[in-house]
């Protein structure tokens, strides 16, 4: 769970229901909930291990500075994989008084990182790879002749 709006939310919790059993957990950002988690990066995480469940009921709540708790997401998500990372990001652009609070599903790369993946990063890496290949190929190909043009 990530939020760029620390001024609004002071913490997050989630209720996860699998195979009819509900598990409540407080998400934390102190870097201790997950291996290699970066502390205080604005990404709140939690982890549970249960029997395999093909879907999961999920409810995410945020705690406001006033102490009030608001629901950011409720729904059933597909969890057909044996290890699933469910990452959400607060999308409300204003404090809840100015509009319905909500969070949206985003991609994450845990176990490498619990943080949402910046979409531009792979493109930057691929661009550098393309540039490298382009330089490599251009150095050798100019002036060569083909085995047969059709």
């Amino acid at each position: 769970m990530a939020s760029p709006y620390d001024v609004v939310y002071t913490g997050f919790s989630a209720t996860v229901s699998r195979l009819g059993t509900a598990y409540k957990m407080v998400l934390s950002d102190d870097g201790r909930a997950l291996r290699d988690d970066k502390p205080y990066d604005g990404v709140y995480v939690g982890e549970i291990t249960t029997d395999y469940s093909a879907w999961t009921d999920l409810s995410i709540s945020g705690t406001l500075r006033t102490g009030e708790t608001v629901t950011l997401y409720t729904g059933t998500v597909r969890t057909s994989e044996t290890d699933v990372v469910l990452a959400f990001q607060v999308r409300s652009m204003a404090p809840p008084a100015h509009g319905p609070p909500q969070a949206a599903r985003v991609a994450a790369a845990w176990p490498e990182s619990a943080a949402p993946v910046p979409e531009g990063l792979p493109i930057l890496g691929a661009f550098l790879w393309a540039a490298l290949i382009a330089v490599m190929v251009s150095l050798k190909l100019s002036g060569a002749q083909s085995p047969g043009r059709r």
Binding site: L19, A54, T76, T82, A107, P122, A134, S138, A144, R150
Partner: protein, 561 residues
């Protein structure tokens, strides 16, 4: 390293064995952990793998008796007829997951080998032809098919077979065997998938017509091949038109078609890389271009006198794959080559222009192999480096080994107690779930049907949610359960329903108890209950004499009370 090539190139047989060994190892890595348990595991991130599991278990008849009970479901709009045939052979031997797993494991290897030999046919030499095998057999679109679960699309040796036979078929004195292989290759592509047939046609028609216009190909050859294709393609089109709407149900609006085509198109930025976000929702569409062969093709176009016609075909395929609208970041959006087609109602069936891209992968792969063949004698270390770069493209560029996940798919044990007869799956309607999640539920329960063997009321091939017998029966049942369950058992039995599988985890806490209590009042205590395969399933048997299929057909003519 030069000693490796000092005694001349190895024999064709050695080349084939060495290439196949390389592709086979890569294939296992590519789809890992599928090879560890191919008969009981899926590795797809999306929902099509469940539906494919059901489809391959169907006998080779145009109407399936396993779904859409009691009438059965027409299978004439199946995307792939080849996987159907493979399934007919393998399902009795290894279960309904065998055919899909075989395609996922053998597909990249055989497809890669075919592309490899195709490059040799176009003048490249081994081992440089391997770059073509990697670019086509292990492409990002093959990864897309693996991750979405329609693994039959990975097994496409047909398009390279067709392209590889073209040089000999288009000569002024055509090799008849090559002409036959062109037709066989195109037909195989058609029977593998409609998109693959479009890809093959995009390569075949321009290359043949271009060659004929240059008077390099006989008119008789051109019209002979086109006539054969027409004769073979006509029944396919006829079967498609025979049953079903002329636009995708509830999706036939022009606005939807245009939007869907845009979503299924490649983008200029997306051609560079996939990201973890590619697999989060519904599709695993990340059409990434293999960089090494693409760069080889680009520079070959100016420097090496390689097959410029192939390069032209590849560039054309890339432009088509961008769909009806091209987004130039920071500049604006411009109409794409498919903009006129997106206005046609029938285009609602053509939602994934990105699936044309394999034509570019194969074309660039062959040109890349040609370019390496030219350069390698004077720059062997460099050429080997390029070969390694192509391997990196196949693994990192497609991302397949990093994106697959083990998906266990056992049958919940409650189903094994189902009495003979139709089974009604009871889960919430799409009005309370997302369309994506609904597809997941339908796919999963159809996959269960392949495992338990009893017919189900929902459609399993059609994507028209919300109109089938399951939807009608479940909706009626929910209404009756809350109103008073007196006539539930009779109405189920008279319509041939022998059992009801209730999925309580999918309902809200309060309503699940009410529904269960209603079902127990109407049908008696559950026959079986399980929580051993990723969900809780409560199975109820319908008491009384259950109607036969033919009796149920008549009963379904009348509306539910």
């Amino acid at each position: 390293m030069n000693a490796l090539f000092a005694s001349g190139p190895p024999s064709t047989r050695v080349q084939i064995v060495a290439s196949l060994a390389l592709y086979s190892v890569l294939s296992v890595i590519w789809s890992w952990p599928l090879a560890s348990d191919p008969l009981n595991m899926l590795v797809c991130r999306q929902v099509d793998g469940f539906g494919q599991t059901w489809f391959v278990a169907q006998p080779l008849r145009l109407i399936s008796q396993s779904s859409s009970f009691p009438e059965g479901e027409w299978l004439n709009r199946s995307d792939s007829f080849i996987i159907w045939g493979i399934g007919a052979v393998l399902t009795p031997l290894g279960g309904p997951m065998a055919a899909g797993s075989l395609c996922a494991l053998l597909g990249p290897a055989l497809t890669g080998l075919a592309a490899d030999r195709c490059a040799v046919a176009w003048g490249a030499s081994w081992p440089w032809s391997i770059v073509a095998g990697l670019a086509f057999g292990f492409s990002s679109m093959a990864a897309n098919a693996l991750l979405e679960g329609h693994t039959y699309a990975i097994l496409d040796p047909w398009t390279p077979l067709m392209l590889g036979a073209l040089p000999a078929a288009l000569r002024p004195d055509p090799d008849r065997r090559a002409v036959l292989l062109v037709v066989v290759g195109w037909s195989g592509a058609l029977l593998t998938s409609a998109y693959i047939a479009i890809t093959a046609s995009l390569m075949l028609v321009p290359l043949m017509v271009g060659s004929w216009l240059r008077q390099e190909t006989r008119t008789r050859t051109l019209f002979g091949v086109l006539s054969c294709i027409g004769v073979i393609g006509a029944p396919y089109v006829g079967l498609f038109a025979l049953h079903g709407p002329s636009t995708r149900a509830s999706q036939g609006t022009l606005l939807y078609t245009y939007g869907a085509m845009r979503t299924g198109s490649a983008t200029l930025a997306g051609l560079l890389a996939w990201s973890p976000g590619s697999d989060v929702m519904q599709h695993s569409m990340a059409p990434v271009i293999p960089m090494t062969v693409t760069m080889l093709a680009i520079f070959a176009a100016s420097g090496v006198r390689a097959s410029r016609r192939l390069i032209a075909v590849g560039v054309f395929a890339v432009l088509l794959s961008l769909g009806p609208e091209v987004d130039l970041p920071g500049i604006g959006r411009f109409p794409g080559l498919l903009a006129p087609i997106a206005q046609l109602p029938a285009a609602s069936f053509f939602r994934f222009p990105a699936r044309i891209l394999p034509a570019a992968f194969l074309a660039f792969g062959v040109v890349g192999a040609q370019a390496l063949t030219v350069v390698a004698p004077g720059a062997l270390r460099w050429a080997v480096l390029a070969l390694f770069a192509a391997v990196i493209d196949a693994i990192v560029g497609s991302g397949a080994p990093f994106r697959t996940r083990p998906i266990p798919f056992p049958l919940p044990s409650a189903y094994t107690y189902a009495p003979p007869g139709a089974l009604l799956e009871l889960f919430p309607d799409r009005s309370v779930t997302s369309p994506e999640f609904m597809l997941y539920l339908i796919g999963r329960t159809c996959g269960y049907a392949a495992l338990h063997g009893e017919p189900v009321l929902q459609e399993c091939l059609s994507i028209s949610q919300g109109t089938d017998h399951r939807h009608l029966m479940a909706g009626w049942l929910f209404g009756r359960i809350f109103d008073g369950p007196d006539d539930i058992a009779v109405n189920l039995a008279v319509r041939g329903v022998a059992s009801v599988a209730f999925h309580p985890d999918l309902f809200l806490t309060g309503e699940r108890d009410l529904i269960r209590a209603g079902l127990e009042a109407a049908l008696g205590p559950p026959l079986a209950e399980s929580a051993d395969a990723g969900e809780r399933v409560v199975l109820f048997a319908v008491p009384g004499v259950v109607a036969s299929r033919s009796e149920a057909v008549n009963a379904w003519q009348e509306a539910l009370p």
